[in-house]
């Protein structure tokens, strides 16, 4: 792409979008401007817009547990800043570079646009749950704010959540504000080996149904490593974590002998879960992300495995399945979507060739009434369809 808007501030962002809208010229919105390999492909647009120059932390009140940043701020910069005060973004966003084999640093705007959340999502919520305020520029070039810097706020419609996970199809975020959490004093993992998917999910369910500060729960089946690993992470004060680990081992007695995993080993394990590390290679495999009720996950997987060669693992206590399809001419879409059909959950094609993403619905197709609402909402933010037109759904 030759032409690229690189606004320095909200004002510049607004005038860039106004220009594009006037010219009815679609824009590709990027954070770090690195990845065209995500979402539905936006082929052929002349212009892109990147927020990479709009960076920096705009507000940080460690004593009030809030941080605000401009959209192009690298996540790592925010992490570093928070770490100084022993705080963190609660939702543990993944680093897509592993999966996409890219190098540009993820930006906070991109994280919000994708509602990107990692293993801790089951304990403290998704990106959308920590996000308390946004400023954004709509497809009309209007600057709009919603939410703010306080935790509790029902003043007016929640455009914060609406824009979190909208993949930049409604507006370009110009500032995002989060509530943050103190880092846990201690974090360790408790693991079990040698379990099949069904018993593993049962063990995770037992752990999540306990009162022992479980902050993450995953199962990596034997097909990925040499042996299966079923792990939960406990986070909290020294005492509560140690106590929880002991109690959990008791609770798990019927499943097997629980093993403690601490320090870097534990931390690395969760980084791999977060970044879907085991599925990254080889790069030509299509990757899916399924969200469904944990109890349904083993059946869905058994169903898929009968028809497709896949590598997979479970996060979110079984509620999130990462799936790499070994070989299929539709990236496995028909099998995956059919298996998911009666679960109520949804499947997203995270990684696939551009050709594939063109052919297949990347995001779960919406029922007609919901699709109609989605179109109406797109229209009211971006009537000229300048922002990431077609990135989520055709026509949106």
């Amino acid at each position: 792409m030759t032409d690229c808007y690189k606004p320095r501030d909200e004002c510049g962002l607004s005038s860039a979008i106004k220009d594009a809208a006037t010219a009815k010229m679609p824009l590709v919105v990027r954070g770090a401007g690195s990845k065209s390999a995500m979402g539905r492909p936006l082929g052929g647009y002349a212009m892109s817009l990147t927020t990479e120059r709009m960076r920096g932390v705009s507000l940080y009140e460690p004593t009030e547990l809030v941080i605000g940043a401009l959209p192009g701020t690298p996540v790592s910069e925010i992490d570093r800043m928070l770490a100084k005060h022993n705080q963190m973004l609660p939702f543990e966003p993944m680093d897509h570079r592993v999966l996409f084999g890219t190098s540009a640093e993820p930006t906070i705007g991109g994280i919000v646009a994708g509602n990107v959340s990692g293993p801790r999502r089951i304990a403290v919520g998704a990106c959308r749950d920590s996000l308390i305020g946004v400023r954004l520029v709509t497809g009309r070039g209007d600057v709009v704010k919603s939410g703010g810097r306080v935790m509790k706020n029902v003043t007016g419609l929640d455009l914060v959540k609406l824009n979190c996970g909208a993949w930049g199809t409604l507006g370009v975020l110009s500032e995002v504000i989060f509530k943050v959490l103190p880092k846990p004093a201690r974090s360790l993992s408790v693991g079990l080996g040698g379990m099949n998917d069904t018993t593993a999910i049962a063990a995770l369910t037992a752990a999540l149904g306990s009162s022992f500060a479980v902050s993450a729960a995953a199962h990596i089946p034997a097909s990925i490593g040499s042996d299966s690993t079923t792990i939960v992470r406990l986070e909290g004060s020294d005492g509560s974590v140690a106590y929880g680990a002991r109690e959990l081992a008791k609770l798990w007695r019927s499943f097997g002998r629980a093993e403690l995993i601490e320090g870097d080993e534990s931390a690395n394990l969760w980084l791999r879960v977060r970044d879907a590390h085991w599925l990254a290679q080889p790069m030509d495999r299509s990757i899916w992300r399924l969200s469904l009720a944990p109890s349904k996950a083993p059946h869905v997987l058994a169903d898929i495995r009968q028809k497709l060669g896949v590598r997979y693992f479970f996060d979110w206590g079984g509620g999130l399945v990462w799936l790499a399809v070994v070989d299929a001419d539709d990236a496995g879409a028909s099998v995956v979507r059919e298996a998911m059909a009666n679960t109520g959950g949804h499947a997203t094609l995270v990684r696939a060739s551009s050709e594939m993403r063109h052919r297949i619905d990347v995001f779960e197709p919406l029922p007609p009434a919901v699709l109609k609402l989605t179109q109406e909402i797109k229209k009211c933010f971006d009537p000229d369809r300048v922002l990431n037109f077609g990135r989520m759904y055709a026509g949106i």
């Binding site: 709009v144 306080v150 929640d158 009434a369």
Partner: protein
């Protein structure tokens, strides 16, 4: 006298009342259609009784299909609809309009499914908040958002107002604990958003619907996340000789990275009122009281409490009292949760709901008392301090028209102050009619216009809860 305006009722609709009622009889069970003046009267207001309007009629459907039929009819014939749960809104969110049908969810009060493995419960929208926890408590689970009105308020109302409660400091408010809804749009179509899994597909319409105050559609079912209760929970009372000390202690606890389950604040006036009702053993010789609840294993609670106690003492706490039994704990929370109601013993009140940054609590408390004094009134403060969500109760005499307008003016001043210091007009009660005309303090026109456009995407004819949330001169745009 009454400051808040309602739109002029549509004469044409009023004239058609009989035929509308006649049509409605075909859409809902007769026991669910209320038309006599006397019976409609029971629905003319909510917990903001300073304002009231008699509705055209009240329907109490029993099924999603009935709701759909009524909405479709209203949509096709241009009749306004005001959704209603238990009518405990403090912002006038459920107050009818004269040319509107009230659609109450009270008869939709069944529990549809409980699933402990996947940790959710599915209920109809008219189920009360407390009965959700009551259903799952026998297995040691609970539903986290616990508005003080939880005994009476409905899940539908909670979703509409994104209700919070004392324990939301740790567990989040309604939007963080809601997995899915079934709702009926104004044209009668029935949609499901989210479900029994995390993060709904497509745009986060579920997130948008929460807090939308019944203006986007009518929620008829909800899937809620349930959590396993902690091993133990212990509230502790900290009494302070000054409000500033208590406010500072809250800020310091949060700043120290301690997130208790709840930090509730009461000033002297509120303590006296609540103690009179609940006999919870609140100290009466202090200016301000914090109820701090911690949970976990005994060792964990001890450790956290030691840290909190040190902070409280450093800020001058004179009383520190732990609950010693389940009965005491119940009494402590009963007192807190009854605070607004119990205030009725001493005066009428307007309950404000602004949120401020926790670092500004002490300053804002001091300013509030100046504002209220300036208007010649008194105030009692009782609120969720941990997240800065303030509830000054402006005490006045509702039978004295001049006091009513003074109270409202004081309320406006307080909310402006909340916005000025970086906060917002409403943390959990919603805008309703009460704060509608203050929306411009917090939002620019561009902000509001965008919200209105989104609203219109769901309800282009502005039939749902028409007079609420957005300033009256704002609706035609979009």
């Amino acid at each position: 006298m009454s400051k808040i305006r309602f739109t002029e009722p549509n004469r044409e609709i009023l004239a058609r009342r009989d035929s509308i009622i006649n049509d409605l009889t075909r859409l809902v069970d007769p026991a669910g259609l209320i038309t006599s003046t006397d019976e409609c009267r029971a629905y003319e207001t909510d917990a903001l009784t300073a304002y009231r309007k008699m509705p055209l009629a009240v329907v109490l459907p029993k099924t999603t299909e009935e709701v759909s039929a009524v909405l479709k009819y209203c949509h096709d014939t241009g009749v306004k609809v005001v959704p209603r749960g238990a009518g405990t809104s403090l912002a006038g969110g459920a107050i009818p309009s004269e040319d509107a049908v009230v659609l109450g969810l009270s008869k939709m009060n069944r529990v549809l499914a409980v699933n402990y493995d996947d940790r959710f419960i599915r209920v109809e929208a008219g189920v009360t908040n407390l009965s959700v926890t009551a259903v799952v408590a026998e297995n040691g689970f609970f539903y986290a958002p616990d508005p003080s009105s939880q005994l009476a308020c409905t899940i539908g109302g909670n979703i509409a107002n994104n209700s919070g409660g004392a324990h939301c400091l740790k567990y989040g408010v309604t939007t963080n604990n809601l997995l899915g809804v079934r709702m009926v749009l104004i044209d009668g179509s029935i949609i499901d958003l989210g479900g029994d899994y995390l993060d709904s597909a497509g745009l986060d319409l579920l997130g948008l619907v929460v807090g939308s105050e019944g203006q986007l559609g009518i929620v008829t079912e909800a899937t809620l996340r349930i959590l396993k209760s902690a091993e133990g929970a212990r509230p502790v009372l900290f009494g302070f000789p000054s409000c500033e000390g208590a406010g500072k202690a809250v800020a310091d606890v949060i700043a120290a990275g301690i997130i208790p389950v709840a930090i509730e604040y009461m000033d002297k006036a509120a303590i006296e009122i609540c103690e009179a009702f609940a006999k919870a053993g609140y100290p009466l010789d202090v200016e301000a009281l914090l109820i701090v609840e911690v949970e976990g294993s005994d060792a964990e609670m001890d450790a956290t409490l030691a840290d909190i106690t040190a902070i409280a003492r450093a800020n001058g706490a004179t009383t520190v009292r732990e609950s010693r039994s389940a009965i005491e704990t119940a009494a402590i929370w009963k007192g807190r949760k009854s605070a607004f109601g119990a205030t009725g013993r001493v005066a009428d009140y307007l309950c404000m709901d602004g949120t401020v940054p926790t670092g500004k609590l002490s300053y804002v408390l001091a300013e509030i008392s100046k504002i209220v004094q300036r208007h010649g009134l008194r105030v009692a403060n009782v609120f969720h301090a941990g997240d800065g969500n303030m509830h000054p109760l402006i005490l006045y005499n509702a039978n004295d028209p001049s006091q009513q307008s003074k109270a409202e003016a004081a309320g406006d001043d307080i909310l402006r102050l909340c916005v000025e210091v970086g906060g917002c007009l409403t943390g959990e009660h919603g805008v309703g009619i009460e704060k509608r005309d203050l929306m411009r303090c917090q939002f620019d026109d561009a902000d509001l216009v965008q919200q209105i456009r989104v609203r219109a995407a769901f309800d282009p004819r502005w039939l749902l809860n028409t007079d609420k949330v957005f300033p009256l001169d704002f609706r035609c745009q979009g």
